[in-house]
Symmetry: C2
Subunit: 455 residues, 2 copies
């Protein structure tokens, strides 16, 4: 019998997160105040986040202890398995050895609970009673609903209206885990009421939903805001993925030549890759590939600038690769990758030449995802299909060159709550959005006036 899967014992779970800021040659640049454009410090963030998370956000300490209370909850589904994709290798006829870290085994079906649980815990410890957040397709909102429920916190989720209506199951899932979920724009905030008065039929947007959640946070008692990606502390919490994978490869007596993750805001990519990037910084020969949609090509076509996190331009300015906060991506299925910016840490790693970006168009990603589902059983999330498209590319290159590289990718989530893209693909009706050169040029032109970080 082949070794298909490596589990770790719970006793082998990592006890510390890895903070890559400690190993970066270029120090991270501070966020800027949205009004004054001046660098902001921890105190400026205090109305939005609890101070213990702000401390993690600005920390340069290499290893940060994972509290037992967090480990006890993560142990519901962690350590997650590392699985060898033998059948996919056969299907591709490649000499490459393909492994995936399976984050689809969490109760909400993705990597999102890794940080949701940590954030709920730190809010609880800090005395916060209630969290407000936004969600697009619903992955983040449902993961945080589970986490806040397990720690006895209240949660209010502002869900982009079009998803709220199209994805009733995500909404019920949040409700099952005890969260209140409303369509955004809602009647519950000033900003929401203003938007509804002006655009009664608006489908909503992530930008509007973020603005509502932040307004809710600063106007409600004992409430803080939580974000599912982009920020440093979110990347930190996700590193448990790569740290586990390293132990699993150690058990196998091997090490990956290539590590691949899809990138939207950057968190699952950071989770699987940062521990390997650390090895690379210290001399290991490993390629790290971040994969984005060619219809939202932040890393491959965007510019490194200070930009807002939200469309309404209310968040602090972050130094990141961006297509501009006014950029509205086309409605491709991978909702988790429809973000105009990129995590500052991931952006800096690109500048430091530690990661390679690749971009694939939608049809190519579903082609890869379907082949994966039909050879390895698990139906991947639309976002994950981007990572798999890059795996195909690299594994077929191995075939051409006759080299047996070891490839690791992060299976960031399953797709069984997001199946309509597969249906369209099988009907040959899937639209292949590409961002035209003139649109990219226009976006970049608008960006010329944005504040420039020191490079």
């Amino acid at each position: 019998m082949e070794i298909k899967k490596v589990f770790l014992n719970q006793s082998d779970m990592p006890r510390q997160w890895y903070n890559i800021a400690a190993d970066m040659s270029t120090p991270m640049q501070p966020p800027l105040h949205p009004g004054t454009g001046q660098p902001i410090g921890p105190d400026d963030l205090a109305p939005i986040f609890p101070m213990n998370l702000i401390e993690q956000e600005v920390s340069t300490q290499r290893w940060i202890d994972i509290p037992d209370e967090v480990l006890n909850i993560l142990a519901i589904w962690r350590p997650s398995p590392l699985t060898r994709a033998y059948n996919l290798e056969k299907y591709l006829g490649t000499p490459a050895k393909i492994y995936f870290k399976d984050e689809s085994v969490s109760p909400s079906g993705s990597h999102k609970p890794n940080t949701a649980v940590a954030q709920a815990y730190y809010n609880k410890v800090f005395g916060i009673k209630r969290i407000a957040t936004e969600t697009g397709a619903g992955q983040w909102g449902s993961s945080l609903a589970m986490a806040t429920q397990l720690f006895g916190l209240e949660l209010k989720v502002y869900m982009v209206r079009v998803s709220f209506e199209q994805k009733p199951y995500r909404k019920i899932l949040m409700r099952t885990w005890g969260a209140e979920c409303v369509a955004s724009p809602s009647q519950d905030t000033n900003f929401g009421r203003k938007m509804l008065a002006k655009y009664p039929d608006t489908p909503g947007s992530l930008g509007i939903a973020i603005s509502e959640a932040i307004e809710d946070t600063v106007t409600s008692k004992d409430t803080r805001y939580a974000l599912g990606s982009v920020l440093n502390h979110v990347m930190l919490h996700q590193t448990i993925i790569g740290l586990e994978a390293q132990k699993q490869f150690e058990y196998l007596g091997t090490y990956p030549d290539i590590v691949i993750g899809c990138v939207g805001g950057g968190s699952n990519f950071a989770g699987v890759s940062f521990p390997f990037i650390r090895d690379k910084i210290y001399g290991k020969n490993v390629r790290i590939i971040g994969v984005e949609p060619s219809a939202c090509p932040t890393l491959t076509k965007g510019t490194f600038l200070y930009d807002f996190g939200d469309t309404a331009a209310t968040t602090p300015l972050l130094p990141m690769h961006t297509l501009g906060h006014n950029f509205i991506p086309k409605p491709f299925h991978a909702g988790g990758l429809r973000y105009h910016g990129m995590a500052p840490l991931v952006s800096q790693l690109l500048l430091d030449n530690l990661i390679e970006p690749q971009a694939y168009s939608q049809v190519k990603t579903y082609e890869a995802g379907l082949a994966f589902a039909r050879s390895e059983g698990i139906v991947p999330a639309p976002e994950t299909n981007h990572a798999i498209a890059a795996v195909f590319h690299e594994a077929l290159k191995c075939k051409e060159e006759g080299v047996a590289k070891t490839i690791l990718f992060n299976l960031s989530g399953h797709g069984i709550m997001d199946l309509t893209g597969y249906d369209s693909y099988l009907d040959n009706k899937l639209v292949d959005y590409e961002m035209p050169a003139e649109e990219i040029a226009e976006a970049l032109k608008e960006l010329e006036s944005y504040p420039k970080p020191k490079v």
Copy 2:
């Protein structure tokens, strides 16, 4: 850190299934021919099933080797974890130690692939190219779609029309795994066309769908039929659940006092319990509880008789507890438990006083399932909620009596593709179907004319 979860290494996976027929004091009675009422042998089943599965169906060999090809596929998600429900224990304030075997981690989200993979393999080895089956809510159809795809077989699924229309995601899931799925009754069989002509607006039924799948099987080339529960070989394939659990308890140095599973056709219950029933037969003190809906009380209110497996009365007659093949259960959410009969093996074990049946009504099961989701994170399937209702009952008895019993239950599947019941429960709109005494009396009266097995 608490030990939350016990994994097994892949090398510790059971290499043999356990066949309880070898240890039963009462030999199993043969199925009868639907036309003649005479006992039938292996050859009579040959047009429906491949001979290697028929051999398993009638085998009394205690241990049956699991082929490597089957183990390699099961290893996509197996061994499944055994998890301690600490938070649920706290919620209930019980001294009981509650463990669950987590079958929700399979790619289709339930225990069904354990037998789907085995059945696809044996059909493949026997030279079969194509399988026909029926599905109600879609769990079985999608699990078999995955399995047939992985072994390169074609699959046609006749899905009960009302589910086909209400559960489009299950249909897309089957399609993603390469199966053809049609609403039943369909235009593709004589029986289907006849039904449509007579009742153009019929919602369909499992009985009609079985009849269509069997007609398809016997009229198509290189095609066989597959069933997801009830039959002996299905129970056999599921015993990997309990065999793994035994190894996991051995690792913990403990043993359950009570083993609990929900029962519809009987397969997940058989899977978790048969290896423990073996220990009980050989003197171990362990209670085994099968939990059914009080709206379909086959074990608690039905009679042990020869009955048909389908509504159309075309299958062989099986000796089992039944409410009569004309019994149409009320539309409660746990679709997998809406079956008039019971696996012959499970029925015989009840006659032999080796298992205890319990019945719970729908609201009680959702109350338990919701509390589980909110304390342990995983949202259980509506079927699984029945097992959890019994766990509550037993754990609260432990609290009353001040005894710290060890309880194992089978988390047969997750509910994230079947969430509407939770929504209704939270809206206080969930209907509590009970089978009225006069209806039970009526059903039992009709059963008086059925052939009686020797007891």
